[in-house]
């Protein structure tokens, strides 16, 4: 295993609705925690990368503005965007800059204050993360795009609404233990009962997906501090190494997608590269965070990552194999379905969870058995971008 670039500090704000502060103050929350976690001073940081989806930021060119607020000037700063996988892409760029010898310690900060605009505006702009020329004119939005995958997948692979519901039930189980999650209630099957007038999750949004199949918008920030081997060993008692990184992209237009029943092609492509680089297989992964913006996305991720054969992801949720005590624990911090999904902050939040797991510091969410290899799967748009990052001790 190559030990060349390590994570030496992780931080995350609470994910909330309607953060009472500006993007500067929101960014500071994750930055402060990560710097204290790393135990370093600002003079030790020699570059920063800020990651967000620009449709929500009223501030243009936020990287410079936030670098100044966090005290990271005059060091160079950069801005990276791949919609919902922006901070994973930021980590890939930071890794590359360190590996190239340009910088020793790089801060990657993801943020999103989605409450700057209304929910209806948000839906429209998220939809515009797809093809505005040929698809948005029909009235598309993110749930509808994922529903196209869900419909074809369910028709071919025997996945049921109960399977999707059980992904949400699992998420709720762990969301209750994550003090940073926006949604901290347990989820019961009766919450999805269309005959129950109090059921919060049964209403159709984009059939076959219902309210309970979708994650919530949230405001949040995350921060990952990367260092080269020399600095990591000098600064950190528990460096967690990045051992594999894969990334892929796919056609934006649904008309050019190869096969909806097979799931997102970027999941497969990014996973293959990351496993090859790390020199491991899916069987070696002890704990994973996957992109569950919708319940169907988690099932598709199981297959893209090789945790289950193609078309068979439903078995993992039926057998509870992805629970904390199962064969391959997935999203035991509640995932995006419980934590919320502050676009630019999401990948960094997933990475923080995995780093804490590998350090044995995940508290009530800790996976038993002293996990030594963890994986993060983060998707941008409707599988427009895909990123898989593998971590080891």
């Amino acid at each position: 295993m190559a030990k060349e670039v390590a994570v030496i500090g992780v931080g995350q704000s609470s994910f909330v609705r309607g953060y009472e502060g500006s993007i500067r103050e929101l960014a500071f929350e994750a930055f402060r925690e990560a710097m204290q976690d790393a135990g370093i001073a600002k003079k030790d940081v020699d570059a920063s990368i800020f990651c967000s989806a620009p449709e929500y930021d009223k501030q243009r060119s936020p990287a410079g503005v936030l670098a100044e607020y966090l005290g990271l000037i005059p060091q160079p700063t950069f801005y990276i965007e791949t919609v919902c996988s922006s901070s994973s892409s930021g980590v890939k760029v930071g890794y590359s800059m360190i590996k190239a010898g340009l910088h020793d310690v790089v801060v990657v900060l993801g943020f999103q204050k989605m409450s700057e605009i209304t929910s209806a505006e948000s839906q429209e702009r998220m939809g515009r993360g797809a093809d505005i020329q040929w698809e948005a004119p029909f009235g598309t939005m993110m749930p509808a795009y994922y529903a196209l995958y869900a419909q074809a997948y369910m028709a071919k692979n025997g996945l049921t609404h109960d399977d999707l519901m059980n992904v949400r039930v699992k998420s709720g189980t762990y969301g209750q233990t994550n003090e940073r999650a926006v949604f901290r209630k347990g989820v019961k099957p009766s919450d999805f009962d269309p005959n129950n007038p109090d059921a919060r999750m049964a209403a159709a949004v984009a059939w076959p997906l219902r309210v309970g199949d979708a994650c919530a918008n949230a405001d949040g920030s995350s921060c990952i501090i990367l260092a080269n081997a020399e600095k990591a060993k000098a600064f950190s008692k528990k460096p967690v190494w990045i051992t594999g990184i894969g990334a892929a992209s796919e056609a934006v237009n649904m008309a050019a997608r190869p096969d909806f029943a097979k799931g997102l092609s970027v999941g497969y492509g990014a996973a293959k590269q990351a496993y090859n680089m790390a020199g491991i297989t899916a069987k070696d992964v002890k704990v994973a965070e996957v992109h569950d913006c919708f319940t169907i996305a988690e099932i598709m991720a199981y297959e893209g990552l090789g945790f289950a054969p193609m078309g068979d992801g439903k078995q993992l949720i039926r057998e509870k194999a992805t629970y904390k005590e199962g064969r391959i624990p997935v999203n035991v911090d509640g995932g995006l379905l419980s934590k919320g999904h502050p676009i630019g902050a999401t990948g960094g939040s997933q990475m923080r969870t995995i780093v804490l797991q590998l350090r044995g510091e995940a508290g009530p969410m800790q996976v038993p058995g002293d996990p030594d290899i963890g994986l993060v799967h983060n998707v941008g748009g409707v599988g427009l971008y895909g990123s898989v990052t593998i971590f080891g001790r």
Binding site: Q123, F138, M141, P143, A144, A206, L209
Partner: protein
Amino acid sequence: MGFDKFGRKSFTGVTKTAKFVDLLAEGKIEGTVCKQCGAKYFPPRSDCAACLSKDMEWFEMPKKGTLETFTIAYYAPFGFEKDCPYTMGVADFSDNLKLFARLAGDIKPEDVKVGMDVSIRPLKYDDGQMSFEITKA
């Protein structure tokens, strides 16, 4: 006709493929094909990604396809709320040609099935916007 006439609500005013909207008004749904290498595209493109040629011509989309997948939107983005519920889907016309569009309003949601035979036709909205829709074969 400008491209701002395309769709229930357009987000793109100017494109070199704006003729697509004029063709819709003539009752035709057309993609583009590269005159150099023969690569076919739908939605239409003015540039060939396969051989980098800019020498493209129009061709009429096949009429018979199958519905690969669909969804029924019960909640719509800003500006589309009055249309709810509406069905959108991807139809496969073989020859590597697929198309994303709404399904015709006269198809009942419970009658829509993955794999069903479908066709396509141009559509003119009351406000003059031009589009196309997937219909039952």
